[in-house]
Symmetry: C2
Subunit: 601 residues, 2 copies
């Protein structure tokens, strides 16, 4: 079926049930950013495969809301579907919520799967909808038309050794129970897969590139129950030893309804609406999961491991750069991706860390494709049996390759972007490239007072581009998990939404960029660990420790756009890159790296 | 009576009434920052004369809480009083609220004058106090010991012509009523003197340096009542013509109690606790006064006037600088103050604007005195009959003079600080001076996207100092009224507290500094007007228009601490200073100004 046929079939089902509007979000039952295939109904119906988007279908229209990272991709993938693209974040574009509120009148019926929207969203929407709008929350509409829908994932689960996690489940649980007692709560209910994986020191394979497993947990003063969708034979002894009761995934909602007359701590933005409905016999205390901050502030063992896997990771991207700049191979967007993964495997061995997977699908985007923030290589002719991909060409109008990639190591999760200049680029693009590097380095070198939030620090990175009237329409950076999701809260650098304090041990990316549709895309991304700096009469100063070691392509830099302090920062960064990576390179490569890390004036 | 005797006398009164703790805030009945003498009971009792501070007296102790601006001054003024200084904002120092919460047990009684604490403070405190703590809110304790207390002020009131205000009371009232209708409120009650003065286009003389008058107002859909403490003969015709009912100050609380069964819009942080108690028959809608944002966003007439009076104001400070750097006069801290005021009068005439007053007591601080942010010149020997003040001395260890001053003009309110270097200063002080100027100029030249708040922009100014481990313990800047208070909300630059968006037409100061107790103080302050910049595919960019024209003393600048872009900004600023002021100077002064504004490399 085409997208347009799927929408028509859904409309027939909507009419049968007197439904005026159907909301199909991107969420699974766990408010995950990346979901297993079972939950990809928005992509199944609309054809838009980006990680974030909301589909709304009415009886006479259909709309797909997505953010700036995906405007260009969504435009292409929705072409001919009859689904209108709503560019979230652009001036005058309503949010899905605002859209529904303005569209639905008394007597209308809105349908969504209550297990696939957050409780916060559902409550906020219900408050704002006109009186008399009915809600149907217990019908899974996509299931009605999706014949070959995959199962809910149930892959292998395994334990993460304490030499990687740095803290036992028992100790983490004690910290969690301390918070419960402070908040006078009798229970904590969590459904966020990353929080659960972190808390139990378990990892799984249910979501592509994110080693989590489908699960819920209920923790009380004297019980600790984990609900898992997979075979638990491999972990049952270990869990028993730590006092964890294992139950099946499907038993969760029934058990939930047994909770009565106690205060239950849940994060309404991180659990689905059906969970809150099941807790109707309890007092709800709505607050962040205690694990959110604990997980974000990496412990010393995690930090030490991260430093190691980042050396391997930076080495892999550097070796790709060496091949692109000095090698003979010919690449297209897809072969770059494959070659880089083989380098990651080799470099992990060379440095002595264990690579398990990529941390997300590599973005290898040449020329104008790089203007799509979350591009993934697609065949030039999608209908061809022998797919061909865009070739890297030094003589192309914009001969630049953006590569955003990362690995899942036992030693942590990485995320790195470099944009390589393979031929001549215009002065304007050089200016954009230089100011992007400038912003990245300024944030990396920032000294700040403890207590500052990501919304206060963001502008340090963004200012050089704002000064010339350019903005990237996304955050400057996001938190990164430890062998978990590559996007993790609460920390982020964003002038609008970075309310969380940047605390000691947090890992955040620093990834400014310039994206000019149809022309070029530039992104340069390092990861930063927040660490304590000087403590003096003014208070506790903080600084960042750089985790990412890979040259910034000097062929994109025009020092005329830099201040002398920026040049100092760039040269100093390149010295640490050379010093860190050169022991792992052969003499020839070391010579080339020395050139890539040369001092500029 | 000494402070210590006053505290003892108050304790006797407390014991009579079974009061365990007495709270004496700095507030008047209007939550004003500057108050008329009647309300200066905290200063009367403790001897600490700063504008902000909270006194708490228990039966066995007394504590004065004040912020970083006043640490040094309070330390001196409290010496020997038995009152302990609590440095608010320093690590480990509780807020007055936290202090009371931890101190008061069930059965204890806390007393404060409910008319002199904000409703927000009273409610927050009551929620947190232990159960069983009683509150006495209707006794004015300072009155019990203050024999020669002044009357509540009742000075002259006058109308501000529309050629200065830019908008009639009638039009402003229509805007206010529109907000009331949007918020479904039947009445607005305001007690903030600046909001009232702005709304009615009236000015008064009840508070030193701030041309407001003691007043309240109640606005409903069809009534507009102003309660005034002074003789209203001079304004009664005009008010009648605009449909305003004038009532006396004392009638306000009785009228308030007549409001019943309607929704009343009040800002609990801007009205006293007794007002909210008087409205017990109404539904309270707690939100910012609608006038707050309207007043902050200066209209085109106000902006045009402000540009004019700032030229006069900058000219006056520049002429002081010319005299200090090239003249023969000898000054002390007090005579600088007087001389500057005479220059302000002369320059107002020369430029063709009308000076009414200073906008606050001038801070003229030499050497280490400048480390006190809100210093005012005090005699070297306070007991001498012929007071002598600290002399300006080029050979002093730190020969620098900080002058922070401003004027009240019909054309607006000004606030400007310059720090003059009168002899040799150390390299460290030069570094502090240079980085202070650097931060000021970076914020002045900032381009930002519409929607950014003062907490997101602040770091642009603060970063050069943070980089060397130095911080000023206050905001980077505050809003400024129009012929009203020199401190005005909601706009401010502060990484912790600058939540308000910086919107078109807002005037905010840009005043970084370095304050090293016992050594030196540096502050350089311009005022900035937020204006629209380029509108492009990324959205609406904003920038600042500089209002303040006065050289930055190049004798404090070491270009080695500056980037080339900072040097460009400094030179460009000095060119506009020279171009703006030189037409008003004689040839000799013009030559000197040219030297002060010389280009550096």
């Amino acid at each position: 079926m085409t997208a347009s046929e799927k929408v028509s079939t859904l409309r027939a089902e909507m009419r049968k049930r007197n439904v005026t509007c159907l909301l199909v979000p991107s969420d699974d039952c766990h408010q995950s950013e990346y979901v297993c295939d079972y939950f990809k109904s928005r992509a199944y119906i609309s054809g838009f495969s980006g990680s974030a988007g909301t589909l709304i279908i009415s009886l006479d229209g259909a709309w797909l809301f997505t953010d700036g990272r995906y405007y260009i991709q969504a435009e292409r993938q929705l072409a001919g579907s009859g689904i209108e693209l709503m560019r979230s974040g652009s001036e005058g574009v309503p949010t899905p919520e605002e859209f529904l509120v303005s569209k639905l009148q008394s007597g209308d019926t809105l349908a969504y799967d209550a297990k696939c929207v957050s409780a916060k969203f559902a409550e906020g929407l219900q408050k704002k909808l006109a009186e008399g709008v009915k809600i149907v929350g217990d019908v899974d509409f996509p299931a009605l038309i999706w014949a070959d829908r995959p199962d809910i994932a149930h892959g292998d689960i395994w334990q993460l050794d304490e030499k990687y996690s740095g803290k036992s489940h028992t100790d983490k649980l004690a910290d969690v129970r301390k918070v419960l007692s402070e908040k006078k709560c009798g229970a904590l209910v969590m459904s966020s897969l990353c929080d659960i994986a972190w808390l139990y020191n378990l990892r799984g394979s249910d979501v592509k590139n994110t080693p989590v497993f489908m699960s819920y947990c209920i923790i009380t003063e004297n019980s600790d129950t984990l609900y898992v969708n997979a075979d638990t034979a491999s972990i049952s002894d270990a869990m028993k030893a730590e006092g964890v009761t294992l139950r099946t995934y499907n038993e969760f909602y029934d058990d939930l309804k047994q909770l009565k007359d106690i205060s239950v701590l849940i994060d309404k933005s991180a659990v689905n609406a059906a969970i809150v409905e099941s807790l109707s016999g309890c007092k709800i205390v709505n607050d962040a999961n205690p694990t959110l901050l604990m997980k974000a502030k990496k412990n010393p063992v995690e930090l030490e491991n991260l430093l190691k896997c980042h050396v391997a990771d930076g080495l892999a991207v550097t070796r790709l750069m060496l091949e692109l700049k000095f090698g003979e191979r010919e690449f297209d967007e897809m072969s770059v991706d494959k070659y880089l993964y083989s380098l990651r495997r080799e470099c992990a061995d060379r440095v002595g860390v264990t690579l398990l997977d990529e941390s997300f699908g590599t973005i290898a985007a040449f020329g104008a494709n790089a203007a799509m923030m979350h591009y993934s290589a697609t065949p030039i002719d999608p209908d061809s049996e022998t797919p061909e991909y865009v070739k890297l060409d030094k003589n192309a109008p914009v001969p630049m390759l953006l590569v955003d990639s990362g690995g899942q190591y036992l030693e942590g999760t990485t995320d790195i972007t470099r944009t390589f200049v393979l031929g001549n680029i215009s002065d304007e693009i050089k200016q954009h490239y230089t100011l992007t590097a400038c912003g990245m380095l300024r944030l990396l070198n920032l000294v700040f007072l403890d207590g500052a939030s990501g919304s206060s620090l963001d502008i340090v990175c963004r200012e050089p581009l704002w000064e010339i009237g350019v903005d990237y329409r996304c955050g400057t950076g996001h938190g990164v998990g430890y062998l978990l999701s590559v996007h993790e809260g609460p920390n982020r650098f964003h002038w609008r939404t970075g309310a969380a304090k940047i605390e000691e041990g947090m890992i955040t990316t620093d990834e400014p960029g310039v994206y000019v549709e149809g022309s070029h895309g530039i992104r340069i991304e390092n990861e930063l660990a927040a660490v304590k700096g000087e403590h003096n009469e003014y208070g506790q100063f903080m600084r960042f420790e750089n985790l990412t070691f890979c040259p910034i392509d000097l062929d994109g830099i025009d020092a005329a756009y830099l201040d002398k302090s920026d040049i100092r920062k760039l040269n100093a960064y390149h010295r640490t890159v050379f010093d860190t990576l050169s022991p792992y390179l052969c003499e020839k490569d070391r010579g080339h790296l020395e050139y890539l890390c040369r001092e500029i004036k």
